[in-house]
Symmetry: C2
Subunit: 292 residues, 2 copies
């Protein structure tokens, strides 16, 4: 049983810990095979940084939680670079949950699979934040609150991504967050998030873009990504409808009608700040799906 | 030119200063007649508390801003009790804006009329918060950010309202607000607001109700309304899908499939706390409209 599990971008500006959007590319491929014991194998770019002991591996934790003692060999072929802000560990967790559910005929709903994958994700991110696992399992745009997942089909749009050659752990990105924020900033985020959700529901990419403003988290996290402000301006100058740090960063995502110019502009702006970055264009994608 | 301008309920829990919903009832009726000077007259319940000097009256300020010197007599027949949390002054401002626009053939868009009405509303509330004027002008459910108004048609549902015999000025309600809030509470409000907007867009009243949770403003404002917590519980116990202080209070609004039981239950719960309250049931309504 082989499953393709997509990368995702969380937050989209105002939706810290609650918004996620599945990407068409990149993706992990997770394969499961019944076995006498539980083993995990990881290959592909960045694999060397990922623990394979089942209790320390996102996919391993998912398998343990779902199978409660039954053996399985989980093989993860990484297509998503770890610590890039593109939901790499969440994709592995999502792929494992979907693959195990199919292989063992467990019959869990997609929402239950989000919950299993979130527990796996917690093994790597430290806490079960389902903002990346929800889109990796369900596809499209997702809002998570208290374990409830609402799924909306995003408008047709390009997603320009700049993936800089920097590593930023979720832990480090979380450590800079303030304990308290100004009420006015909180209110502004509520309004921006609401605009973004309304834009998703209406299929209005421009409204989604206008909603991509974050007064709470991005101002402090941006300091961890050299050149971020210039990259953001460059994308907007190249026609992007909205720009945000992707999840905890360091990747940057811009939504666009056509994304090529923004992807190049972000690459250049990073380069001007001495950071090598790979720009690429993708689209909103489906959730984890079985490969024939 | 006579215009019917509806009451509205702002915030709906998580959407402080940004969400509003027009009510079918109650409403003000605003009449304008060309005249040699600018005069304002107010009648109906609570009229004695409303200043009629044009520069201090919401409808008067709207007329001044829209007509820049031309005379008009504005007559406001109050149907919405002032300081009740049901957007009373906003309705008068909205009614005046729509009536003057029609009578003088000014051709402003609904969004421009929201801006004019917000300036009038500022005369009474102290700052131009368009969260009540937007629904009073445009109808339905509105999200306001930076002067942009997004309008969504709400699901079919009842709105049970309890209007207690208490007065709470917007000023007093604002004075208890904290300057800063916990990041976690802000994030929770973003998630709840997003759920509420998604529910509105999907026509799902139950999802709207689940979104009606406020960690930022309601916890402190509830202290100003004796019995609020019991009233909230009573409404939920009577089948309400969600409950919130209406705007700055003291009114309480509950969304319901059928609202009669919740309206009675809220009346009783207020009475048990020594507060006389009038419960009634209405529905989401249209924006200000010309009466034949």
């Amino acid at each position: 049983m082989r499953v393709r599990a997509p990368a995702s971008t969380a937050n989209l500006g105002p939706g810290f810990d609650c918004f996620g959007l599945a990407l068409e590319d990149p993706f992990d491929v997770v394969e499961v095979e019944r076995s006498s014991e539980l083993t995990v194998e990881v290959s592909g770019p960045g694999a060397e940084s990922i623990p394979t002991r089942p209790e320390a591996n996102t996919a391993g934790v998912v398998a343990t939680e779902m199978l409660r003692g039954e053996g399985v060999h989980v093989s993860v072929e990484k297509g998503i670079r770890p610590s890039s802000g593109l939901g790499s560990s969440a994709a592995s967790a999502a792929g494992a949950a979907v693959a195990i559910n199919e292989e063992f005929g467990l019959g869990h709903s997609r929402e239950e699979l989000v919950a299993f994958a979130a527990r796996g994700e917690a093994a790597s991110a430290g806490a079960p934040h389902p903002d990346n696992v929800a889109p990796s399992v369900m596809g499209g745009f997702t809002v998570v609150r208290d374990g409830e997942v609402v799924c909306l089909e995003p408008p047709e749009m390009d997603l320009a991504v700049a993936l800089p050659d920097l590593e930023l752990s979720t832990e480090e990105s979380r450590s800079v967050l303030p304990d308290s924020v100004a009420l006015g900033d909180a209110v502004e985020n509520v309004a921006s998030a609401s605009l973004l959700v309304a834009g998703m529901a209406a299929g209005d990419a421009s409204m989604v873009g206008r909603g991509m403003r974050d007064a709470l988290v991005e101002p402090v996290r941006a300091e961890l990504v050299p050149g971020y402000r210039a990259v953001r301006e460059a994308a907007l100058g190249a026609g992007a409808l909205g720009v945000a740090l992707s999840g905890a960063g360091p990747s940057v995502v811009a939504i666009c009608e056509v994304g090529d110019a923004a992807a190049s502009a972000m690459e250049c702006a990073f380069a001007e700040h001495g950071v090598a970055a790979e720009g690429f264009v993708t689209e909103p994608g489906n959730g984890a799906e079985v490969l024939e």
